[in-house]
Symmetry: C2
Subunit: 364 residues, 2 copies
């Protein structure tokens, strides 16, 4: 069993925090010590994850908090909305829980984003802890303080930058992850290679089979290295004034796919995987990377069992969906493009080139 | 006509901002210069205020922003909810307005709180400007960065600390204010005396008739002095870790009245006025102030035409409503009590003493 790794997110004003990565962390008393004191804790989870881990977490938290409640939300991206968020508030206010109450996000990216946003706005801010149980949440969404819900007109459009107190990534919880979700999580792992670390891209290519076979040591390294890269980026640019945008490689088209297909049809990681292939091709068409890079990334995405061809939503619909992307400015759609292996940046791309790329990949 | 006064809110990390107070500021080009650049601005107002000032503000902003939209919400505290907030988001996303878009809150406290909260969460934060048109908003709610909406189970329960770029308090907009709202605003002016400045309390007593007669110079001083006191408190404790709570003198019972009666029945200032009289009596019953102080404050509140007796909601109902107050902790209701003229602090008060005070004032 691998030892516990700790990655620290360096942030000013007392907001720095640790990501702990390892096996058996859920049952490790140290995971829950040293958190903010409070009369009550509330575990927020979903219908799929709660039956697996919520009672175990509650037992552990009972040694720290006099009262531990559990709020169970419906599962899936389609429920990442105001109605679900309000179920958390209804519980907190219905039970008159005060503004020291600590929230625990037990689940994947949807639960983490919603619980974090609930913590950001309940009484203008209560502490929260991320307990990610999916690969995607462990390598990406639980780290860095982006919280949000979806709006019918756009993904993650309403939210806050709000940092957790701690992230506890228990690798054992990945045992219960459906294969499709494991693969979706790998999309975000793959992402870190092209944008920040050419060597890590090679390592993923070499270890993809072990990752798919859920080798715990290999998964542990993938989670740690992903978190290290994210920590470095977020530490430099917490509120996405510039650099942090590179973490959105593949996300402009990815979000359009998720929103255009209806939230939940494609998993977030699947949409991002396909978005990365198209953004790589946009980088090539912008003269930033050689032909070979697009094919290399496409091949890796395919080997991971992830989609490489976009759904046929029509070019105009894609452009409309992408114009509400948070990175868009004054009507121009902006993409994270690869500027060379391990280096990325934000680029305004003319509509004609976007349309041509979408068409070449069969999106029309 | 009085000259423009400027009060600065001192905050770290580039978040300091100015409150400009004076006559004619709405039409003063300098009011709108030096704000964040953007392709679009959106004025958020309500059905009452928009017909009076929205087009004038739009004309002024057109020299700065290529596009200026107006979103009109229903008027009143009863509409300070998610549904109204979402109308702002529907407009912003429906028009694909980007994350540089600047929001302008044109109206009273409800519009300011909702627009500020919308700005805090739209795409995780866009800039906003407060243009308060009520006395209450000019002396209190537009200043200090508290934003929120109500939840059926409690007032201002969902929100964020999010600072505006600037506050433009045009005293001329008070000309259109109904008398009842002017009086409600005076409640928050009166508040600053007991909690922070005994001399200001005397000044208010001496100038109350001129304030009620809307003497512009006297109103201007009341707004400026109120903002100075608030600036000093907020500068020391932006996120209400301690000191800032004193600004909530009268608000624990006040919020219970508003929530218990149904939002909008009592104006916020009316509820706070009554809450201050009861909190003064709680201070006396706690041995902190002499008998004379309660009578002095009651007399001033009464002269201002504000209510001094609480509605008969029943003691138990009051206690239940106050237990969800944001200042409550581990089940204990906490009040801002006066500790001597011009000095206040947060105190946990036993339920029995609260009940006895409520009963003495006819709340049963």
């Amino acid at each position: 069993m691998p030892a516990t790794d700790t990655v620290r997110i360096p942030l000013p004003d007392d907001r720095a925090y640790d990501i702990r990565i390892g096996s058996g962390l859920l049952d490790e008393p140290a995971s829950w010590q040293g958190l903010p004191k409070a009369a009550a804790a509330v575990i927020v989870s979903n219908e799929t994850v709660a039956p697996l881990y919520a009672e175990r977490l509650r037992e552990r938290l009972r040694s720290v908090y006099a009262r531990v409640d559990i709020v169970v939300l419906p599962d899936g991206e389609a429920h990442k909305d105001w109605a679900s968020l309000n179920r958390i508030f209804d519980h907190l206010l219905g039970q008159a829980l005060d503004r020291k109450t600590v929230l625990f996000a037990l689940g994947g990216g949807v639960i983490g984003d919603m619980t974090g946003f609930a913590a950001a706005v309940y009484m203008r801010g209560v502490p929260f802890v991320q307990v990610p149980t999916t690969l995607l949440a462990q390598v990406d969404s639980s780290v860095g303080g982006k919280t949000a819900i979806n709006h019918p007109l756009g993904k993650n459009m309403l939210g806050a930058f709000y940092q957790p107190e701690r992230v506890i990534a228990d690798l054992d919880t990945l045992d219960s992850l459906p294969d499709r979700e494991l693969r979706a999580g790998l999309a975000e792992v793959i992402k870190y290679g092209p944008i920040a670390d050419a060597g890590f891209l090679c390592w993923i290519e070499d270890n993809l089979d072990a990752l798919l076979a859920r080798d715990k040591a290999v998964l542990g390294y993938a989670v740690r290295r992903s978190c290290e890269i994210k920590a470095e980026v977020v530490g430099q640019d917490e509120k996405e004034q510039g650099l942090r945008a590179i973490l959105n490689f593949g996300h402009t088209i990815g979000h359009a796919i998720e929103s255009g297909m209806g939230y939940g049809k494609w998993l977030h990681g699947e949409a991002v995987a396909c978005g990365m292939v198209l953004a790589a091709d946009l980088s090539r068409r912008s003269g930033l990377v050689p032909d070979g890079f697009v094919e290399r990334l496409r091949a890796l995405v395919e080997r991971a069992g992830l989609p490489t061809a976009p759904p046929k939503l029509g070019i105009e619909r894609y452009l409309t969906l992408m114009r509400v992307d948070k990175k868009a400015e004054a009507g121009a759609i902006r993409f994270v493009l690869i500027e060379g292996l391990g280096r990325a940046g934000l680029h305004a791309v003319p509509d004609a080139r976007i349309a041509e790329t979408l068409a070449a990949h069969g999106a029309a």
